[in-house]
């Protein structure tokens, strides 16, 4: 699993979605669920901070 900081928004969001789905199915043993839940919370916090702090970056292609 990649460190959350290295993920793009899309990747983090997709992983979060996946985790929720897995937990929803409810087929995992409890300790795995707890691990995944922790990861999910991390990802959610990361996504939110990305969105909250983002500033549009504009650069011009050099000649």
């Amino acid at each position: 699993m990649l460190d959350t900081q290295e993920l793009s928004f899309e990747q983090a969001y997709a992983e979060l979605d996946n985790i929720v789905r897995q937990l929803d199915d409810g087929l995992l043993p409890l300790d795995q669920s707890v691990t995944l839940f922790e990861r999910g919370r991390q990802l959610a916090a990361y996504c939110q901070s990305l969105l909250d702090s983002a500033e549009l970056r504009v650069q011009q292609l050099s000649e």
Binding site: S8, F9, E10, Y13, L16, D17, I19, V20, L23, D24, G26, L30, S33, V34, F37, G40, R41, A44, C47, Q48, L50, L51, D52, A54, E55, L56, R57, V58, Q59, Q60, L61
Partner: protein, 446 residues
């Protein structure tokens, strides 16, 4: 209008030719069968007929420069159309003014379409205009249609080859003029909606003859940038609104081909909602305006935040649910466990033991009761069979003195043997003197 008639004087047998000019005039008149003299009205009417019957004049296109254009209160428009050497009056009836096209200004070079007719009362003719086109635009429309058909036939616009735009672009390449309002609009939209995206601007001219090669170059350079491994997911080609001439660079064949050849998907946002350029057809997606393009490219951050929040909540909810479910299972197991524990087994056995005890006791009591009853019965029977009762009736029990055993038969005794006679009130010691075993006593049969 002058009608010149040249004729030879003919020597006619009907006249003494020399010296009779009036008669010649009459002959000439008869020969040409024309009315002798027009009135101004009739002449003008005749001229009107000539114009109205002419096919060419009924359907003309005329190029010229507009001057003295005036719209009257009546709604009709009057103007003059001229070139260097000549001019003609023009009129646009109010009824036609809605569909005629853009009304021209003085000095505009135009192509107009209409019908030439006369104004008999004034002896003037004019062109009654039903269509006005800026000069050269007709050309442009035609070239546009031709190029569009040509490229369409080649397959440049095929729907199958159109690529999907990325849902969460990390970087957007923008092809437009850096100073243009369009670029500002796009930045504003992106900043509001999706500030986590990066913009890479490849500036170019967006109008004029120098624009198409620059647009092509920008598209190619952005592709090169992506190919070099830099992050770039999509290209946005845009410019603000304008006339067909202003937007003409985006109808250039070279631009269309560059868009088609781009490895990165291209979205176009050129002009206003009703403007369609060749670039729009070649692009993977067409947006009505630059701002609309920026919106199409990106998700709204507000939606994303809401989605992330929803996922967070869902996460917490499923976690809680799973924990509850597990706890319930645990409780169930605990209950089962305690049910199966040695302690409870003991308790259960103890209970059973008590039960058995109870039943046993009840049974025993029952048994004892029965036994007692039987005992009582036996005692009664026993009493009834009590031999001492017999004694009370006066009988004697005979016993061998030495053994104490009863003598039931006389034959069982020996003469001289000591015997004891037991009676109700005591005993008598006696001796056998003589016996007779043949004596028999009647017995009562029951």
């Amino acid at each position: 209008m002058h009608i010149l008639i040249e004729a030879e004087i003919v020597y006619s047998p009907h006249s003494q030719a020399n010296g009779q000019p009036e008669r010649v005039n009459e002959l000439v008149d008869e020969l040409f069968a024309l009315p002798q003299t027009f009135t101004v009205t009739s002449l003008n009417e005749y001229i009107a007929d000539v114009f109205d019957m002419d096919e060419t004049l009924a359907d003309v296109w005329v190029e010229g420069e507009v001057s003295n254009f005036r719209k009257y209160e009546s709604g009709h428009c009057y103007f003059t159309l001229k070139d260097e050497d000549a001019q003609i009056k023009g009129v646009i009836w109010r009824s036609a003014s809605a569909r005629v096209g853009e009304l021209p200004d003085d000095g505009d070079k135009v192509r107009v379409h209409g019908r030439v007719s006369t104004y008999p009362q004034r002896g003037e003719y004019q062109i009654i205009v039903d269509r006005v086109r800026p000069l050269g635009v007709g050309d442009l429309y035609q070239r546009f249609e031709e190029l569009k058909q040509k490229l369409s036939d080649e397959g440049l616009f095929d729907v199958e080859r159109k690529r999907e735009l990325p849902a969460y672009p990390r970087a957007i390449g923008i092809v437009t003029s850096a100073d243009a309002a369009a670029f500002q609009d796009v930045q504003n939209v992106l900043r509001r909606r999706y500030p986590i995206v990066e913009i890479v601007l490849a500036p170019c001219l967006v109008q004029g003859d120098l624009a198409p090669p620059m647009i092509v170059d920008s598209i190619e350079r952005l592709n090169g940038y992506a190919l070099a491994g830099k992050t770039l997911d999509v290209i946005l080609v845009c410019r603000g609104g304008g006339s067909i001439e202003d937007l003409w660079a985006f109808n250039d064949e070279r631009v269309a081909r560059a868009i088609y050849a781009s490895r990165l998907p291209v979205i176009s946002g050129v002009g206003h909602e009703t403007d369609f350029t060749i670039a729009d057809f070649a692009a993977d997606v067409r947006a009505p305006t630059p701002s609309a393009a920026a919106e199409l490219l990106t998700p709204d951050i507000a939606d994303l935040l809401a989605d992330v929040k929803q996922l967070k909540d869902a996460l917490a909810l499923t976690m809680t649910r799973q924990i509850s479910a597990t706890r319930e299972r645990l409780d169930g197991q605990t209950r089962t466990l305690s049910r199966l524990s040695p302690q409870s087994q003991l308790d259960r056995l103890r209970l059973r033991l008590d039960e058995w005890n109870e039943r046993l006791v009840i049974q025993q009591k029952g048994r004892i009761a029965i036994l007692r009853e039987r005992m009582a019965g036996r005692i009664t029977a026993l009493n009834a069979a009590n031999p001492t009762a017999i004694l009370d009736r006066g009988y004697a029990l005979v016993l061998h003195s030495d053994t104490g055993e009863r003598v039931t038969r006389a034959a069982g005794t020996k003469p001289g043997e000591a015997i004891t006679l037991r009676l109700a009130d005591g005993e008598i010691a006696a001796r056998v003197e003589d016996k007779d075993t043949h004596a028999r006593y009647p017995r009562t049969l029951f």
